[in-house]
Amino acid sequence: MSDPRLLKLLPWIVLIGFFVAWEAVCRIFAVPVFILPAPTQIWAAFVQYFWPIMGHAWQTLMTTLVGFGIAVAFGLLLGIAVGSSRAVYEALYPLMVGFNAIPKVAVVPILIIWFGIGTVPAIITAFLISFFPIVVNVATGLATIEPELQDVLRSLGASKLQIIWKVGVPRAMPFFFAALKVAITLAFVGSVISETVASNSGVGYLMMAANANLNVPLVFAGLVVLAFLGVALYEVFAFLERRITFWATRGNDIVG
């Protein structure tokens, strides 16, 4: 069972099996297309609407990346502040946790009031939904520096800033990348939610529009595109993580 080639093939076998089973269920039980379209019907819709889909996917991708980028910058700074200063931690903790407890969907209508319909609310939603895990993880990485290591550095005359820069930040990198993989997926959720409610472009909007026209295969094509984008970006960050923080896994899973 642990043949490495088989292990590499396994996810693909499962994936193909999943779609084959789906197709089979749709055909055998003659499921109406407006309830659950078969993969072949979804593919047909994808081919038929290829260019519009690409346009909307591009819009969603850009929106997500901008919101995510702001979340990374902001999350990194706030995480470093929270993780390295007891005072900042105590001061911001209740606010941050309370903020995180708010369902971000509920914020979208407010954003529409402020910014109108379009890209801006989607970017902000993507940002709001994805920055929290980055803050928490970076802060954790910084706050868990070994006390003895701090002693070594302080007894060399290192300033707080030097300790953060030489030890805290590198040490927080594995935590940071773990957070990025979660955050990029969340950012997608955020921008698509906002697009479904308040936009005239993006995959979320495309799906709402297709839904209104009872074009269910196109709705599903939108879902598949989202899944694909999500996986692709996740893999990008997983790759960067393996490259940059190989030391955290003791070099065990360096590939090639």
Partner: protein
């Protein structure tokens, strides 16, 4: 052989003067870790501190290096009272605390990126510093391992690197808190020799905390025995043997006599 100390030297390099330390002292009922501990260390002297677990040995190190303030008494180093981190100290602990994202060489170089005057000229003189670090690594038997990461080294090799990191900036004061406690007996004895060689080369003042009496006697000029918590010095033993000492020396009768003497002191402390 084991002579109790006479009068302490008048101008000690490290002067720990009736120092007490209470943790969590706000209510007054915190842990009293040290209670009136006095030790005077001459410049270039190698002392060892032994005593039961939890008697405040690590706390004493923190007081001397200025990482902790005493609740009473004072510590003076090189003639001035310590009231902040000292900046001239090299440190090594039981775990090597190397940075896993840096190679062994870069780990050893770390103090030079922080400590003045090296830090401000580090960029221009990097080649020269690297050469120094390589020479030091070679001295402790790590030639060829400079580009390895710490997690690719054995425990003994990590501790060797850690010693190099503690010494690269040629500190006047070296603090070693049970540095060999986690190593197997053979590696540990190897490292005694390594440490002795390094010490003989530059003669820093050394404070070594250890549980191993043979280690204390092999390495130190003076061995201090501390009581159980709250810690204070209960005996001071000079070790008169010439250097370099060898492992064979540790089995000679006069060496064993001192070790036994220390063991008796510790037994007394523990039964007290």
């Amino acid at each position: 052989m084991a002579a109790e100390s006479g009068a302490a030297p008048a101008n000690a390099f490290v002067d720990i003067d009736r120092v007490s330390l209470r943790y969590g002292a706000r209510g007054g009922d915190g842990t009293l870790a040290l209670d009136g501990t006095s030790i005077r260390i001459e410049k270039g002297e190698f002392i060892a501190v032994v005593g039961p677990s939890g008697c405040g040995k690590s706390s004493l190190m923190k007081l001397v290096s200025g990482l902790q303030r005493p609740s009473a008494g004072q510590v003076a180093v090189a003639g001035s009272v310590v009231n902040g981190p000292l900046k001239i100290v090299g440190m090594a602990f039981q775990n090597a605390t190397l940075l896993p994202w840096r190679t062994t060489l870069d780990n050893v170089l770390l103090p030079l990126e922080i400590v003045e005057p090296h830090a401000s000229r580090y960029r221009q003189n990097r080649a020269q510093y690297v050469e120094g670090a390589r020479a030091l690594l070679e001295q402790v038997g790590l030639k060829g391992f400079e580009e390895r990461y710490p997690w690719q080294l054995s425990g003994g090799m990590q501790q060797r690197s850690s010693l190099c990191r503690a010494l690269i900036h040629e500190p006047a004061l070296l603090m070693l808190d049970e540095p060999f406690a986690a190593l197997d007996a053979f590696t540990r004895e190897d490292l005694w020799g390594v440490l002795q060689t390094l010490w003989l080369a530059k003669r820093p003042t050394v404070i070594l905390v250890t549980h191993d009496l043979r280690e204390a006697v092999y390495l130190a000029d003076t061995v201090y025995v501390m009581s159980a918590r709250p810690g204070r010095v209960v005996s001071t033993t000079r070790v008169p043997f010439a250097r370099p000492r060898t492992l064979d020396d540790t089995f000679k009768p006069e060496f064993i006599e001192i070790t036994h003497h220390l063991r008796d002191q510790i037994a007394k402390v523990r039964n007290a």
